[in-house]
């Protein structure tokens, strides 16, 4: 095991998530893509902590932060999706295009 291996895993997860976030139409599927990207960040943060500076807790704190961000992202994402769905029965980004500012 080495830092490079972990970073490769992180890049792969990030790229897969990016593909999902860019290509999917549905809001919830886009959120899954975002989550997958953050998943890659988790791996990278943990690996940097272990392989670069295990004496400092910054890597661990970053992991904790990312987990919190994921929770916030999901809660807000679903709240917005529900609100849009309630207002106009739409759950696709293409159909909420008029929200573009």
């Amino acid at each position: 095991m080495s830092l490079q291996l972990f970073l490769l895993l992180a890049s792969a997860l990030f790229a897969v998530g990016l593909y999902g976030a860019l290509s999917q139409q549905s809001i919830v599927m886009i959120m899954m893509g975002l989550e997958l990207m953050l998943n890659g960040v988790l791996v990278a943060a943990a690996a940097f902590w272990y392989f670069v500076s295990p004496q400092r807790a910054d890597g661990q704190v970053l992991v904790l932060l990312v987990l919190a961000v994921m929770a916030v992202e999901m809660a807000m994402g679903f709240a917005v999706a529900t609100a849009i769905f309630r207002a106009r029965d739409v759950d696709m980004t293409d159909m909420a295009g008029d929200l573009k500012g």
Binding site: T82, F85, R86, D89, V90, M92, D94, M95
Partner: protein, 466 residues
């Protein structure tokens, strides 16, 4: 070899019993329940859990299609036992464990009454009949289906989601769904035995595996979500025999309820009403006889209500007491036995929390619908009706050895001297009470009214819409 046989005998010594009862066959059903309770045969939760399918009462009164669906759903080994009268219960059920132990997939060999599922080869048990199928969850294919999308490649199809049935009723929506190729499939629920056996059919493209897709409609919370058509009954634990509800649900919230009956055939007065009916006909009937039958009926209803509420212990005690009352045990000990049970049930704060505010039927609604009996006296929610049953059962138990003669018109479910049987009024108020309730609430409301469908014997087919 011998070891296998012994293992089978051990395993099936107490088979799980799935009872399909004609509403009129109360006495036989009570005999079956007593047998199961005394021998410790568990009641099957669902067809998947059953070993013995007990058809109580004549199956040619409209139960046949129900039984056929069940037969296709029970996993092997299983046997069917037809119980036409109370006296046949003990010998026939006594033989069941051995039949099960000797069951073999080859019908020519020894064993059950030649009863094997028709399609055991395909392993496709569990057609959708008794157990409401969740078809798919969205109005798939309403715009012609997703197949086209895939064939045309991913050109970013900006498929507007059409909202044709936003305002139409669900009938209109039902035909929309599945678009072009729904073929001859009825919507689930309206017809037993429609496509239930469709497990093995070739299916049309619009429906999946022969099952219709869900359609959508506005819901309680202002979201437009899927509507499913789910039948409740006629075979469920603690369910009034012969009742069937066709529900349109969103999530588990009922949007529409249609009451149907299964297996109601013209016969004499209901077992529970017999003493009162005799008194009305001019016979001299002792107060005790009437009170006894009424108390037993209330205990029977309480047993089901407590069972639905998930309170097994007191439900069992009610069954024990009910059988004791019908056996003619003296009033004193019965009252003694009932007192702690009544205190526990009527004094339960958690049961109160779980049943309050459900199925509120106030006095005016009772008068309007012609509801009499305990439901009218209680004039309230499920909890009030439960309390009323407990009170009334206590009173009747105390009087159950009263030898005086009296003219009483009050049956367990209401006055029997009116043109309509009291259970008909109860069925009439059901749909209104059920709309807006969740499935758990539906079960409690139905159990708290506990209509006796044998009372409808003179009215063969009943349908109440709501």
């Amino acid at each position: 070899m011998d070891l296998t046989a012994r293992l089978r005998r051990f395993s099936f010594a107490r088979p799980h019993l799935l009872v399909v009862a004609a509403p009129a066959a109360v006495e036989t059903r009570l005999a079956v329940e007593r047998y199961a309770r005394e021998r410790g045969w568990p009641a099957a939760e669902s067809p998947a859990d059953a070993d013995v399918l007990a058809v109580v009462g004549s199956s040619d009164v409209g139960l046949a299609s129900t039984v056929a669906v069940l037969e296709s759903q029970i996993p092997t080994p299983w046997i069917r036992v037809d119980l036409l009268d109370a006296s046949s219960v003990v010998p026939k059920l006594d033989a069941a464990p051995d039949q099960l132990a000797a069951w073999s997939p080859d019908p020519t060999a020894a064993g059950g009454s030649g009863s094997r599922p028709k399609d055991s080869g395909g392993g496709e048990h569990g057609g959708p009949g008794e157990h409401g199928r969740r078809a798919n969850h969205r109005e798939l294919g309403e715009d012609g289906g997703f197949r086209e999308d895939r064939e045309q490649g991913e050109h970013g199809g900006h498929r507007e989601r059409p909202t044709p049935h936003a305002s139409e009723g669900r009938e209109g929506a039902a035909h929309e769904m599945g678009g072009h190729e729904m073929g001859g499939h009825e919507m689930g629920g309206h017809e037993m035995g429609g496509h239930e056996m469709g497990g093995g059919h070739e299916h049309h493209m619009g429906a999946v595996a022969g099952l219709p897709m869900a359609d959508r409609a506005p819901d309680r919370d202002g979201l437009k979500l899927d509507v499913l058509h789910v039948p409740l009954g006629p075979v469920l634990p603690y369910w009034p025999p012969g009742l069937r509800l066709s529900l349109a649900v969103q999530g588990d919230v009922v949007q529409e309820a249609v009451v149907e009956t299964v297996g109601v055939a013209v016969s004499g007065p209901s077992f529970w009403d017999q003493p009162v009916v005799r008194a009305l006909a001019g016979d001299r009937v002792r107060v005790g006889d009437i009170a006894r039958r009424r108390a037993a009926s209330h205990l029977d209803s309480l047993m089901r209500l407590l069972g639905v509420a998930g309170w097994d212990g007191p439900a069992m005690r009610c069954a024990v007491l009910r059988d004791g009352v019908l056996d003619g045990e003296p009033a004193g000990p019965l009252t003694e036995m009932f007192r702690p049970l009544a205190r526990r049930v009527a004094g339960s704060r958690s049961l109160r929390r779980m049943t309050e505010g459900l199925g509120d039927l106030n006095g005016r609604a009772c008068d309007h619908a012609g509801v009499s009996g305990p439901a009218a006296v209680a004039a309230g929610d499920v909890w009030a009706r439960l309390q009323q049953w407990v009170r009334s059962a206590a009173e009747d138990l105390a009087r159950s050895d009263d030898d005086s003669w009296v003219a009483d018109v009050e049956g367990p479910r209401g006055r029997l001297d009116l043109a309509e049987p009291p259970s008909l009024a109860l069925l009439g108020v059901l749909p209104e009470l059920l709309v807006g309730a969740e499935l758990a609430g539906v079960r409690l409301i139905v159990a708290s009214l506990d209509p006796d469908l044998a009372e409808l014997a003179s009215q063969p087919a009943v349908t109440a819409h709501g």
